[in-house]
């Protein structure tokens, strides 16, 4: 009996719930694999799709969104070995899974912790509720899995949709994660992950008028320029920590709406 030849994986992009190649047909070499090298057009397509997905995702009940995030953790648990092989190892995977579970539980608590009922001087029931900001661009920081999950989970648990640019040097685990997302009932377009050259993609993401917020935790020397580009439509810009876990990270991607509802007979 001859030894079996393994079937190798082709690493592609993750856009709108599907795994397309780059429309440009380009790839680049990372960690010994050919990885899709997304073009600017791929990125613009992903942003359009993320925007379309926003209404459905933010319109789901918080309970439901929480279950979807928990389901992501379940899928990650099943693929621990595959994920571990593509990042620093089992510890990073375990931390990333636990972080996803932690954020899953926040979905139906945010409004209570971040919102408020406001005692105004007048006959109004006045309340403030958090709402998603919109399409959020994320430059994933290292470590490649935990960094990505730490920045992605707080964005989507609040009802935003995400366009992620994976680490350029360590893109494989991001696509492995995409396979967890694709089988976790995450509605198509809620998370889109692109691999490719940061220097090409990041300025397009930062300046795109349909992107409402930017997580630049993974930005290198180009952070200031990206912030400048983001100001053109007053983007909410966050430079957090790659390993943080906090409801304040969720709040950074939420708007607050104050409603004055009349009281009267």
């Amino acid at each position: 009996m001859t030894e079996r030849l393994p079937v190798q994986k082709t690493y592609k992009l993750f856009i709108g719930g599907a795994f397309p190649r780059s429309e440009s047909g380009r790839t680049y070499l990372a960690l010994g694999a050919n990885v899709a090298c997304a073009s600017r057009k791929d990125l613009r397509d992903a942003i359009r799709i993320a925007r379309q997905a926003g209404g459905g995702w933010s319109g789901m009940t918080a309970y439901n969104r929480g279950q979807v995030l928990y389901r992501i953790a379940e899928m990650m648990e099943m693929r621990q070995a595959e994920l571990a092989a593509l990042c620093s190892g089992p510890d990073e995977v375990a931390a990333a899974i636990d972080r996803m579970v932690w954020y899953a539980g926040w979905s139906d608590k945010l409004a209570q912790v971040i919102g408020s009922a406001n005692p105004v001087a007048g006959p109004y029931f006045n309340f403030t509720v958090p709402e998603p900001t919109g399409v959020t661009g994320i430059l994933a920081p290292l470590p490649p899995l935990l960094g990505l999950v730490s920045r992605l989970a707080p964005v989507i648990v609040g009802g935003n949709t995400a366009v992620v640019i994976a680490s350029e040097s360590h893109p494989l685990v991001a696509i492995e994660l995409a396979e967890c997302l694709a089988t976790a009932d995450v509605p198509p377009g809620v998370v889109n992950i692109l691999t490719g050259l940061r220097s090409e993609l990041a300025p397009v993401l930062a300046s795109h008028m349909d992107v409402a917020a930017l997580d630049l935790t993974g930005a290198d020397g180009d952070g200031a320029e990206l912030e400048r580009l983001g100001a053109e439509n007053v983007k909410r810009i966050v430079r957090g920590r790659a390993d943080s876990q906090s409801p304040y990270d969720i709040a950074a991607f939420l708007e607050l709406k104050t409603v004055w509802h009349p009281i009267g007979m």
Binding site: S116, G223, E225, N233, R239, K257
Partner: protein, 498 residues
């Protein structure tokens, strides 16, 4: 509506349109206010001369008369103010017991209440707003704001679960001319409550209430340097924004300037909050209490001459009641009294500046040119001063400049809709997202609309209401960060792990 009430409404609508009745003048006395001939910059607890010696004249826009010579702060002055603020921060204020900090703020609130009439008159003289508004809205709300945040000063740890809040440092704050004292309160009160020190730049055209506020600080015995006031035009603001030792910038003003500030601060790590422009939709459904709604429309756009970032400048009327609403609105507009800001009967005061009057005039002309139908009630305007007749445009397409751009004047654009979906679509069809209004008798519809409107503040069956306990701020290009409420503290604290 009962038959009798319907009949009454029919008869009222048939009655000839009333115009503003002739009232005897009822001016508030000016002599309660002592305006000095010239003012310096308030730095380190005292008034100092600007290094350059440069000054400009601030005027009464209702009379086009000079009021005082005000200092134009330059780079050296702003630097001096920031150093005074840093010194006060490092040497006392941030380490002061929070309960003591609270008492300073309570004092300021009380002093504003005690001197409310003086502030109201001054605000109307320098800004052109009707005394009724300065007296009943601006000054009481400013005092309430200080009172509200005073109470937070020693309770900050309850506002941020699992975090240890500490002050950011020196806050640079830049405010607009539409609510000079109120915006000062919105900025200074939460900043001081959280233990920061402040350099505040009032708007170029309305510095006087901020300069009078310095006297309140003296009476309150606030330590020198905790609050510094630097007057001047945009150059002074730009110096403040780019000063390396300012830790946080809070800006209220135009979206254009807000974007420029965000760009300037890119990569510096300085904290920033922006409260920018708006083009709010005020949405009237066919079941709305119409007379109340018409009052709300008028209050939404003609309050403070429309110099309001959250003004209801786009009226969206359900098609079935369009004719009725427009007829009622025109009747009501004819009774608006435009004129002397100090007259207690005045509804619409003076436009704040010549520059703003020119901008409003140009945009109104664009509305006429693009094909909208203009209505302005018969209205006798004073001969001197800057005035603009309350204006409404009908037959407005969404693409017209008057439906897209912030006019910041007493100019309303009317659009119609047939379904709630269409109302939402039109309301959200703007890069702004500061506020919106909904008028309907149906509570469930209020909440459904509120949920779908992309705006930071939604008023239902009311408009232009403010309260220190209610967070205020924008979505989208109307800015980020909140002022008011617990949420208004967040821009002024650094949250360390507990």
């Amino acid at each position: 509506m009962t038959k009798d009430k319907r009949e009454l409404a029919r008869r009222q609508d048939k009655a000839p349109i009333a115009t503003a009745w002739d009232y005897a003048p009822a001016p508030e006395a000016r002599d309660i206010v002592k305006i000095q001939e010239r003012y310096g910059l308030f730095i380190g607890g005292k008034f100092v001369e600007p290094a350059s010696g440069e000054r400009y004249t601030t005027i009464d826009p209702a009379r086009e008369e000079p009021l005082a010579e005000v200092a134009q702060a330059g780079k050296a002055d702003v630097d001096r103010a920031v150093r005074a603020a840093r010194d006060a921060f490092a040497n006392g204020w941030s380490a002061l017991r929070p309960s003591e900090r609270a008492k300073y703020l309570f004092r300021i609130a009380r002093l504003l209440q005690e001197r409310s009439r003086e502030f109201a008159v001054l605000e109307s003289i320098n800004g052109g707003k009707p005394i009724r508004e300065s007296r009943d809205v601006d000054v009481p709300l400013a005092a309430a704001h200080f009172f509200y945040y005073a109470g937070w000063a020693d309770k900050l740890e309850y506002a941020f679960p699992n975090r240890k809040p500490r002050p950011v440092g020196v806050a640079g704050q830049i405010i607009p001319w539409n609510f000079p004292l109120l915006m000062l309160a919105w900025k200074i009160a939460p900043a001081l409550a959280a233990g920061n020190t402040v350099v505040l730049k009032p708007a170029e055209t309305t510095p006087l209430s901020a300069l009078l506020f310095c006297d309140v600080l003296r009476q309150a015995e606030l330590p020198p340097g905790v609050v510094n006031i630097v007057t001047g035009d945009g150059r002074a603001g730009a110096e403040l924004v780019s000063h390396p030792d300012v830790n946080k910038i809070a800006f209220t003003g135009s979206t254009e300037v807000g974007k420029a500030i965000q760009k300037t601060l890119a990569g510096t790590g300085k904290r920033l909050t922006l409260e920018l422009g708006g083009k709010a939709a005020n949405i009237i459904f066919d079941d709305a209490p119409l007379d109340q709604a018409v009052e709300g429309i008028v209050n939404g756009i003609y309050f403070n001459q429309g110099h309001v970032c959250c003004a209801g400048s786009r009226l969206l009327v359900e098609e079935s009641i369009y004719e009725t609403v427009i007829a009622k609105l025109k009747r009501r507009m004819a009774t608006l009294r435009v004129g002397d800001p100090l007259d207690k009967n005045t509804d619409v005061g003076a436009i704040n500046s010549k520059q703003q009057l020119d901008k409003i005039s140009a945009l109104v002309q664009s509305g006429v040119d693009e094909g909208a139908e203009i209505y302005q009630p018969p209205c006798k305007l004073p001969e001197r001063g800057y005035w603009f007749v309350p204006t409404v445009f009908t037959n407005v397409a969404q693409s017209y400049r008057i439906a897209q751009e912030e006019i910041f004047g007493p100019v309303l654009s009317v659009l119609t809709f047939r379904t709630p979906d269409e109302a939402i679509e039109k309301a959200n069809n703007t890069p702004y997202g500061l506020s919106a209004g909904v008028w309907t008798e149906k509570g469930s519809r209020i909440l459904a609309m509120a949920q779908r409107l992309r705006a930071g503040v939604v008023w239902a069956n009311t408009y232009n209401r403010f309260d220190p306990a209610a967070p205020f701020g924008g979505y989208k290009e109307s800015g980020f960060g909140r002022e008011g409420g617990r949420h208004g503290l967040e821009p002024y604290v650094v949250l360390d792990d507990a």
